[in-house]
């Protein structure tokens, strides 16, 4: 059956360090993969999208990698700040336009 797993429910790191979040999937052939940020009581906010034929994408302090052989995406936040504390969701989208979300990793950046 199809499955998306994000590395851990919670990740705590010190300010200034790099946070690395993992998204693994099985039995999917995604056209692309997206990462979202969700704050308590709010809707998810789109951060980055990476296509199946792309290896890496960057946006400011964010970097996403996509390895379709390992069936894994890594999401990095460099020089992390307390304001980066939130839940981060990965989502796989097929060519049919259907997105399936992982259950999220809650990141806490301590000052």
């Amino acid at each position: 059956s199809q499955k998306i797993e994000q590395n851990s429910e919670a990740l705590n790191i010190q300010e200034g360090k790099t946070a690395t979040l993992t998204c693994n999937y099985t039995n999917y052939s995604p056209a692309y993969l997206q990462w979202y940020r969700q704050d308590p009581g709010r809707g998810p906010v789109f951060l980055l999208l990476i296509r199946e034929n792309e290896k890496e994408k960057r946006k400011e302090r964010l970097k996403v990698t996509f390895d379709t052989t390992l069936k894994q995406s890594l999401f990095h936040i460099t020089a992390s700040q307390p304001a980066d504390s939130a839940t981060y969701l990965c989502a796989l989208e097929t060519n049919a336009g259907k997105s399936t979300f992982g259950d999220g990793t809650t990141l806490t950046v301590k000052p």
């Binding site: 709010r42 809707g43 789109f46 999208l49 336009g97 997105s99 979300f101 259950d103 999220g104």
Partner: protein, 113 residues
């Protein structure tokens, strides 16, 4: 201006009632969605409409009926509400095929008592 707006933000109602949640987007997107987020924060797609046409209809009880009067609006009507329907419901929109992801509304927290 709010890009994707949902009303109401909170909805508390008794079992057996019928209720509606409204959603509007002013982004000019051609596709709109309803997602349900349960207490474990898992986001699950329910429905998707593209230019007023239903394109995704997941395994959802037929007590849930979406309606899209035009491509800027997607409403969700729920009949005979049950305790298990309590969740946060998110509306979202996107342009199919574009690299901008989905734009979500701020959610409607439905509590059935």
């Amino acid at each position: 201006d709010t890009a994707v707006s949902q009303t109401p933000k909170y909805l508390v109602t008794q079992m057996g009632n019928d209720k509606s949640i409204k959603c509007e987007q002013n982004l000019g997107h051609d596709t709109m969605y309803w997602y349900k987020q349960d207490s474990k924060k898992f986001l699950k797609i329910m429905f998707s409409y593209n230019n007023k046409e239903l394109i995704i209809n997941e395994t959802v009880p037929n007590r849930f009926s979406p309606k899209s009067p035009d491509k800027a609006h997607l409403n969700l009507h729920i009949n005979s509400l049950e305790l298990g329907d309590s969740a946060v419901y998110f509306c979202a929109s996107s342009h199919l095929g574009e690299d901008y992801g989905y734009t979500f509304g701020s959610g409607t927290r439905l509590t059935v008592v």
